[in-house]
Every structure is written in structure tokens, then in C-alpha cells.
Symmetry: C4
Subunit: 247 residues, 4 copies
């Protein structure tokens, strides 16, 4: 019964995967559009808002279906905390778009090493985080009085200085919502710098002469052992040949 | 005599561990409360202050008892410098709260790898350091004339930009106490970035194909050696069988 | 036919290599001069501009010749994206100068380890990127009204604070062109910090006692195996000697 | 002749080592004093200046003596570039003080691992660099009109934000000398962050289960090989014993 449910969950996720990714892309569009175009006619703003809510309901229904199909509810709840958080906290809604990166990452899984895959995923996720963070900050700051982020260009520039931990301070959020987006970008920045450094480090380690040499030397000695043994075996066979006729 | 004292020290620390952690939590409460609520009635402010001093005396007594029980006083003094520093320097008192993280870290020691444990501990310690540093800066700056950190929100935001080494400079400490707290957060930030990067790097190194492959190849060759030897032994036994009847 | 073309491509690249590097150095001169000396007589400004366009045509012709000589056009297009981008996007023209670093890196390839080579290349490339980025920002900002980067000294100082991710914010670009140059420097900065950290990490890993010791121990044990086998072989030969006379 | 000179150079360096370290400490004092105390009586300022020049002459004489004693002049010039640069460029004079760190590092060489030694050296050198950089910036900025670093407290705070790459930008150098000191601190900061991260990474790598396990498994298999061989040898001896009586 448990395995059958696990099968049904896997089948369900395989079938709905692309649908949910499409929903995440659509979400990105209806989230970004009203922010990027402040002169959007009210009808389209309302349409965006309705699409946004519809997608939210869709993600919620998907979560409930998967919870129902999961063999162990407790384990599902524990391993899908981000899914729940993104559903419940309105402020973290934009993170739903990260699904797009997961889908892209799944596409070229075959051609890359483990390290290459992880690095590509982190670079993709942080780039998307920067884009979404810029949107979120622009949305939060635009109507604030003392704010200094007024255009999407400013917001993207601020996001770049934040993710790379440069932080000039010519642009910075002043509202609570904007600051929360800022902290998310800072964490993303540490992840980005950390992953790139770590990938380079492991690449260097892979090419360390002495470690490779030591391994090669061990293999050479073992190979000479095999040769030695073959020689013994031949001699042994010869010895048997000379002693057998006597029998 | 020395081992008996070491036993008594270990037993004492096992017994008082949770009490001291509770004292550290209480300290965090009585330290944070008067800073977060400037309108606290004077009676509660005085109560907080008394609790604070009582906890300080408690930690001091604990230090003296452990020093008395330690088999080698010199070694105890050398390995517990932080304990002494936190007792003597009023400015570093807030670091007492780090005990909470140690206690939490001890709880899930079993389920995590060495790297996972260290990373969790550093992330926990730096998060607590950020919280305590924000309190310390707010306490120091609030009554300064030219200061720009006036609310706990500002202080938390400043602490975030400092720990991630972004440093916009829209908020920064101007008093000596505030700057010392700032330097502590910067050091914490380097520890945080360094630990996360290092954990990722060692995770990548663990998955380096060539190193694993080289090890696997060596093991394969050694296994073929064992097979070769088994074959020799069988032939040897056969040779003995054919030569023995002659004897 | 394919190998013959690959040969011709390699021969062509060997012959034209130094010419293109010389063109990259000349490009650096004619790019930097009019920016560094605003009082340059119009005739020289025009001459610089003509030299710049000529070099651009030369790089374009080189790209087309190499594409024609390449055995697999598709593969050439895929592995030479940067060459094409640098040709097509006017904003990224300064990156052509990176060719100089590649040429320098090729010169001392022999004397350095893989890690040393990579580190020297990244340090060289990021230093050149900083110089070229400072020029680009100065060019973009000088005529902007609200700009704060007015001299090459300011521009170099700003580039230093950006590449090291310090980012004081006393100088920062305000135009779109300047901000794009800024983002390029930030990415270069992450590459620089990452490479230096990674080189240090792999250097430390190379000196880890336990790994070296484990390898040495394995090699010692294998050596004792070889000795053991030699002894067996001698005994076997002796056994044959004693049994053969009987034959 | 060459070895005798190398001997004499080593003997000379052993003898004068502590003298030069003492000179470096004295240099630090006479360099720092007039900067830290602007109200120093002119007589003492002049005395400091004379001591400074005397130490400079001493370091110069030491360099010439060592160059004379060196077996290969060319090699000495190539491996002691920093010594020459510190002598010739007045701006880099403060770096002479780094000798103190080298001396301290030499003292506890025995008790620490290679990684621990390097980390301690870098932390020591960067701390001293921060102190000396703060002095240099204070010296350069104090008399500048638009400067914002006016006290040693400001200078130390600025040095801290620079070395940790936080860079608030509330304090920053405005003169060319100050900016050069700033770039030196930024490079020191990258070295500091890089070294700490790298030390942590190699520490984690040292504890990676799988690598250690793979090594241990190989060693186990080799040990079982040795046992197998011993058994063969015993059987072989037994076989010889049974076949020999026949001879």
C-alpha cells in the first residue's frame, strides 16, 4: 500500500511537473508586469491580480494532492517546508518562480558533472532571485516617501551590488518589505560567492599533482605486483610439468 | 586523584549544564527587554538589572567551582579563556548567550556529519551574534546625537548588511561601543561566509569523480590480486596432491 | 579533409597569434588615450577612432577566416561565443584587450603548476579588467551631470573598491553604461576572490597530513607485498632446483 | 666557495635576525608616535624622524651586506624583491614592521600544523597591516580639507570595515596616499578572508568520511593480501618439506 502510494505520487508529479513550471512562468509574468509598467490599464492590473490568485490556488491544490498521495504525511511535511512557506507567506510568493530554474536544471542534467550542475543551478537561482528581488524592492519602495529606488534600472543595479556583496549604498531599501527582499538577496549572494569559490577550489583539488601522483604510484606498484604474480604462476605451472612426469 | 577530580568536573558539568543554558536564555531576555521596550516601567528595568547581575554572579561562581574541580588549573585557565573574558569585560557580556547555541548544537549531534554540525553551529552562533549585536548597537547608539540607528528594525537591518559584508552604509554605528559591536559582527560575518564556502567546497571535493575513480581503480586491482593469489593457492594445493602420493 | 582543415586552422592561429595580440595592445592604447587625455587634438582623436575601427575590422576578418578553416562550423561557433560577443556588442569591445593576458599567460606556462597558471591568469585578467573598467566608467560618467567620477584617479579608486567587493559608495556610476561596466567588475571581483581562496584551499589540502600519510602507508604495505612475493619466488626457484634433479 | 658564502649568509642572518626585528619594533614606535600624538614637542618629532632615517639606513646596510654575502646575486635580487621595494618606496616603508610578525611566527612554528601556521601568520600580518594602514591613512588625511578621517579611532574603524570588505563608506580616504593605503588593506582583506575560508575548507576535507574510508578499505584489502601470501609461503615450505625427502 505504501509503495503503491509512492508510485502514484511519483506518477502525479511526473504528469503535473510541466504544468506547474508553466504556472510558475505565468506567475513571473503577471507578477512582473504591473510592477514594470505603472501605467497599465486597471483592467489588466485586475486580470494580473486574478491570475496571481488563481496560480496561488493551483499551487495550494497541488500541495494538498501531493500531501494526500504521500505514503508518509509527516515525512512529506518535513521535506517540503519551502513549498508550504511559499504558499503561506505572501512576501515569499516570488520564490515560486524558482521552479523555472529547477526545470531548466533538470533538462541538462546529463551533460554536466555534479559540481557543474550545482554551480549552474545556484547561478541560475541567484540570477532569478536578483530579478525577482529587484521587482519586489521596486514594488515596495516606489510609493515610499524617502525611498531612493524609483525605476527598475535602479532596482536591478541595487540588486547587483547586493548579490555581489559590494553594497555601495547609493541605493538601498527603506521599507520593511524592501529590507526583507534585501536580506534574501544577501543570503543569495553568500550562496553565489560560496558556490563559485567552492567549485573552483574542488577543481583545483582535482588537479593537485601530488594526490594524483600518489594514486598513480600506488596503481603502478599494484600493477607490478600482478606481473610478479603472473610470473610466479608460470613458474609454478612449469614446476608442476617437470614434477608430474615423475608421478 | 587527578582522574577522580576530572570525573567530578565532568559530573558537575553534566548536572549544571541545563541550568546554565537556562540562565543564558534568561540573560538574553533581561538583556533584550529593556533595550527593545524603552517605555518599560522603572521597576521592571531595575528587576532586569538585578537579574542580569545575579546571572553574572552565577556564571562567576560556576567558573570558580569548575576551576576548583579541574585537575590541572593551568590547563583549565588556558582552555576556558572565552569564559573568563565574557565574565570580566562588561562589553562582551552578551556573548554569554552563545551558550544557547552550544546546547542546541549538542542536541542534534548524532544525526549530522562533522561538516554539517560545524556549519549548523556557525550559522546558529552568527545568527544569535547578529541579534545580540543589533541589541548592543541600539543600546549604544540610541542616545547618541549624530547616530542613525534609532529603532530595532534599523539595528537588525544594519546587522544583516554587516554580517553579509554588504555594508551599504545607510546605517552605521558612531559610538565606540557600537563600533566594537560592529567589528564583532564583521568577524562573525567572515566566519559565516568562510564556513558556508568551506562546507560547499568539501562537499564538492567529496564528489570529485577522478579521486573516487582512482580509489575505486586501486581497489579493483587489489581485488584482482586477491583472485590471482587464490588461483595460485589452488594450483599449489593441486601440485602438492600430485607430488605427495609419490612420497 | 577534416584533419587537414584542423591543421590549417592551427597553423593559421600559430602564425597570426602575435599579430592579434599586438592589435589588442594597440587597441588598448587607442582606446585609453582619448579617455585619459581630454585635451587631445581632434586630429589624434579621429586617428584613434580610425585605428579602433580598423582593429575591429581586423578582428572580424580573423573571426571569419577561422570560421572558414574550422572543420566543424557548429563546434567553432559554440566554443568561440566570447569572440563573437566582443565583436558584435560595442559595449564589450574593451574585453578584446584580454588577449594580452592570454599571450602573457602562454609565455610562462612551463614554469608554473596548473593552479599557479590559473591564479596568475585570473589575477592578470581582473587587473586588466579593472583598468579597462575604470576607463569605460570615466568615459561614461565624465559628461553626466550628477556623476561623481570625474578623474582617472577617481575611476581607478572606484574600480579597486568594486573588484575587492568593499564598495564604500563614495564613488559609483550613475549612467547605464557605467553601471554595466560596474557589474562586469563585480563579476570579475567574485572571480578574483574565489580563485585566490580556492588556490589557497587546494594548497592547504595538498599539505593535509592524514591524506598524504594514508597514501604513504598504502604504498609502504604494497612495497612489503612486493618483497614478500620476491621471497616466495626465490623459494619456488629453490624448490624447483631440488625437485628438478629428480626428473 | 659558493657553499662557504651561503654558510656566511645564513650565519649573518641568524646573528642579525633579532636586531632587525628590534629595529622593526622601534620603527613601529617612532612611526606611530608622531601620528598618534599631534601635540608631540618638536624635539621629539625630530628625534622620531632621525630614528626613522637611521633605521632606514640600517635596513639598507643590511640589504647590501646580505647581497654581498649571497652566493648568487641574481637569485638574491629575485627572491628579495619585497625587501628592496620597502627600502626604495617611501610609501611602503610601514611594511617593514611585518618583520615582527615573521619573528613571532617563527617562535611557535613547532606546535602548529602547516595550515595553522599559515593562518596565524596571515591573521597576524593583516592585523598589523590594519594598524599600520590606519596610521598611514590618518597621517595622509588629517591635513586634507575634505577628509572625513580625523582621529585614530576613525582610522581604525575605517581599516576594520575595509579589511573585512564591508565598506560602509561613512569613512573613506580622499587623498592619493590614503587611497594607496586603502588598496593595500583591501588586498590584505582578500588574503584574510581567503586564508580563513581555505583553512576551514581543508579542515572539512580532512574529515570527509568517504576519502578516509576509501583509503582505509584499500589498506584493509592490502593487509588481507599479505595474510594470503604468508599462508601460501607456509604451504610452499610444507610442500618443499614433503618433496625434499624424495630427492
Amino acid at each position: 500500500m505504501v509503495t503503491r502510494n509512492a508510485d502514484r505520487l511519483a506518477r502525479y508529479e511526473r504528469r503535473t511537473g510541466w504544468l506547474l513550471t508553466a504556472a510558475a512562468v505565468l506567475f513571473l509574468v503577471v507578477y512582473a508586469w504591473p510592477i514594470l509598467d505603472p501605467d497599465l490599464p486597471p483592467a489588466l492590473v485586475r486580470a494580473s491580480s486574478i491570475a496571481n490568485i488563481t496560480i496561488w490556488i493551483g499551487f495550494g491544490a497541488d500541495y494538498l494532492v501531493r500531501l494526500t498521495l504521500a505514503p508518509s504525511k509527516r515525512r512529506f511535511l518535513r521535506t517540503h517546508i519551502l513549498d508550504l512557506v511559499v504558499l503561506v507567506l505572501p512576501l515569499l510568493r516570488p520564490l515560486r518562480a524558482l521552479r523555472v530554474v529547477t526545470a531548466l536544471a533538470r533538462m541538462n542534467r546529463a551533460s554536466l558533472s555534479f559540481r557543474g550542475q550545482t554551480t549552474m543551478y545556484v547561478v541560475g537561482a541567484v540570477t532569478l532571485l536578483g530579478f525577482v528581488g529587484a521587482l519586489a524592492v521596486l514594488d515596495a519602495e516606489r510609493n515610499s516617501e524617502n525611498a531612493n529606488i524609483a525605476s527598475f534600472g535602479d532596482a536591478l543595479w541595487w540588486a547587483s551590488t547586493t548579490i555581489t556583496t559590494v553594497g555601495y549604498g547609493d541605493r538601498f531599501p527603506t521599507t520593511t518589505e524592501g529590507r526583507i527582499a534585501g536580506v534574501a538577496l544577501m543570503i543569495g549572494g553568500i550562496a553565489l560567492v560560496g558556490t563559485i569559490t567552492a567549485a573552483l577550489a574542488s577543481w583545483f583539488v582535482e588537479h593537485i599533482g601530488s594526490v594524483e601522483k600518489a594514486n598513480a604510484e600506488t596503481q603502478d606498484e599494484v600493477a607490478s605486483l600482478v606481473a610478479e604474480l603472473k610470473a610466479i604462476r608460470t613458474e609454478l605451472a612449469a614446476a608442476k610439468d617437470t614434477s608430474q612426469p615423475e608421478g
